[in-house]
Symmetry: C2
Subunit: 395 residues, 2 copies
């Protein structure tokens, strides 16, 4: 096994100082968090899946202007869903009782795909920015599109949830593989089949993928502190991808409701659910997941009624507004919050670094302490977007 | 966090030299493996759940005579199931096509509970042996029974699959908690609720339980080598419980069919299934799991039809015999093998120690190498039951 390090992979012009990737979390963060992480020495990630073309262009411009090291932009590459009016009607009916409780009109109209896969139009938009790293979720785009991305000099990452997917990604030309353990927040990256019982925790999945492939492997899922990084390294990871630990940072767009939930006992209970978008993702368990996803004995929070990804997301908007506005929403954590960003099965708020961050205590000391053992980078306040921008030398 | 070590806990009279517990694997091992592990410096475990009273007595007698260190006997403590003739009839019908294919008569007659929970009769049988350690799966027995076990001086272990279960076990008086990550082979120990989506991988579950309880925590699930032990220790484990790595030992009762499957590419694919006993357990994916457990989209190998544990096991016997006898059984790995013992999501046969063991090469050198870094104990040939028995000084 002679695998290059992440520093080798991403740091040719601007060394990646820490082998930590900030997980892209659509809906909960944008360029501000990505820049803070990149400028602190990790690899910051810009999630593009839910951005309009104008918003994506603006965010990429910020990344190009202010990043002082390598950065990543993340896209979904699911198959666009087929409309299924009957299924959608049943789904609207399933949501109606929650809407009635919220005093909102029942959902109407057809489901809309609010998350578009990477395509040639998006490639046209992204190409001028030549992102140092492009990561994909749910597999990879078509070969000609992937070749375009690689022609820009971008390094390509994608997530594997099984050994089979890791070998597939290696055969299709990625530069490194994210081993997404079952603990990971947000959408499962599963793309070969839809059998959730094949999904393994990090401690089992990671070493299997490390043994199976020649590429560097990045551990994701359940890692939020120095002990987790040490464990991942013991299991052969070249680096780690960390998401939830960043959700309480001031640079994140995490809603007040979601921040409260993350710091509550409720965050101890996470589960996979497909009720918010149609694809399984890990989020804090809430009443909506229980009401719509309880499909009987041993069933959990998976609904066989939910429309295909991403159509199931269409009719949640009124309930999200209700939950946010009326502050009774801890029973319905904003779907974007609980879902698109997800929540690792790690209790936040107990680790000194995270506690300090959450309570607004300046992080310099904690940052230094953590960096001294080469682990979790917590963005330093002076690296946030509120600092004077500096033009990056790269790209 | 001032937690005693496993050596403190189990080793007062006869020190436990290695913080490794051999997982009890009903159907795949008995006293021979348990003795080999105990006499090599770990904690060997005798699985009692499927033994008749006479067989249990004989095995306990062997443990008492030959163990040269602490040992463990493991019991199930599930609620006995209610008979449900209609459900059982549907289950027999579901199994009938596989039986037809095997040229066996379709299953008949009522389901039988072949696995009995720990009760006063079993306690009477066990008491004279005063096992140093007693472990339970699926919770704990009733308080008066647990008090009896503790009155013998036995240390008590049980498995937690959630933080809630760990706190429950601590409140009910266990001496240490096994954090059973989702990677673990065999039955999930889940006993508070039946929602499988709450089940977390070791890397997430272990540190949460370590933080939540005052007791020593033993990591189980996905650990089969030195790297896994190092990762578990980084996450706060006082010790580890290892099962599948022992299945290829000559002292194990693992069937030839199961040994072959463990060393095949098939072992890369494991899943949770309830089709063999009625409770979810991890095993190598086989055709029976796919045929009976595929409950639709995102469903995997869980059947909503399976009778309650352990009644679903009743009618598998003819198929197991078929698979074993006709050597076409890699499509139906003997249920006991794939199920009661389960298979960690670790590829066996790639680690030098395991390879050497599987190929029959004497293990002394490997054993020494492993012991020198205080990790996985591989039983030494001279410690097997084929050695001259020595009377243990303890108990």
């Amino acid at each position: 096994m002679s695998k290059s390090t992440l520093q080798d992979l991403f740091g040719l012009s601007s060394p990646l100082r820490l082998p930590v990737i900030q997980a892209p979390m659509a809906g909960s963060q944008g360029s501000a968090l990505a820049l803070a992480v990149t400028n602190a020495g990790g690899l910051g990630s810009l999630p593009a899946a839910t951005l309009t073309p104008d918003a994506l262009r603006a965010e990429l411009e910020l990344m190009r202007l202010q990043a002082q090291g390598p950065w990543n932009v993340n896209f979904f590459c699911h198959q666009p869903p087929q409309a299924d009016p009957g299924r959608e009607a049943r789904w609207r009916a399933a949501l109606a009782p929650l809407c009635a409780e919220a005093g909102r009109p029942a959902p109407e109209g057809p489901a809309i795909a609010a998350r578009a896969p990477f395509d040639a139009t998006v490639a046209d938009l992204v190409e001028p920015f030549r992102p140092p790293v492009v990561s994909f979720h749910f597999g990879l785009p078509a070969p000609e599109l992937l070749a375009r991305v690689k022609s820009w000099g971008s390094k390509v990452l994608s997530s594997a949830t099984t050994v089979e997917e890791a070998l597939w990604l290696q055969a299709h030309g990625v530069d490194a593989i994210i081993a997404q353990g079952l603990e990971a927040g947000g959408h499962r990256g599963i793309f070969l089949g839809d059998d959730l019982t094949t999904q393994l925790g990090t401690v089992a999945l990671l070493p299997q993928i490390v043994r199976a492939v020649e590429l560097p492997v990045i551990a994701a899922g359940g890692i939020a502190d120095a002990a987790g990084v040490a464990a991942a390294r013991a299991l052969g990871a070249a680096g780690v991808q960390v998401g939830t630990a960043y959700l309480l940072c001031p640079e994140a767009l995490t809603s007040a409701l979601h921040r409260a939930a993350l710091q509550s006992a409720q965050a101890q209970h996470t589960a996979l659910t497909n009720v918010f978008t149609g694809r399984p993702a890990r989020g804090i368990v809430n009443r909506a997941m229980r009401a719509l996803g309880a499909d009987g004995h041993w069933g959990g929070c998976i609904s066989h009624q939910a429309p295909a990804f991403p159509l199931a997301a269409t009719h949640w908007a009124p309930l999200r507004a209700w939950a946010e506005a009326e502050k009774i929403g801890l029973t319905v954590v904003g779907p974007e919050g609980a879902l698109a960003t997800g929540v690792l099965a790690i209790r936040l708020g107990e680790k000194p670094a995270v506690t300090a961050r959450a309570s607004g205590v300046p992080l310099r000391a904690t940052w230094s302490a953590l960096r001294s053992i080469s682990v979790l980078p917590m963005p330093r306040p002076e690296d946030s977007r509120y600092s004077a921008p500096r033009v990056a030398s790269q790209v």
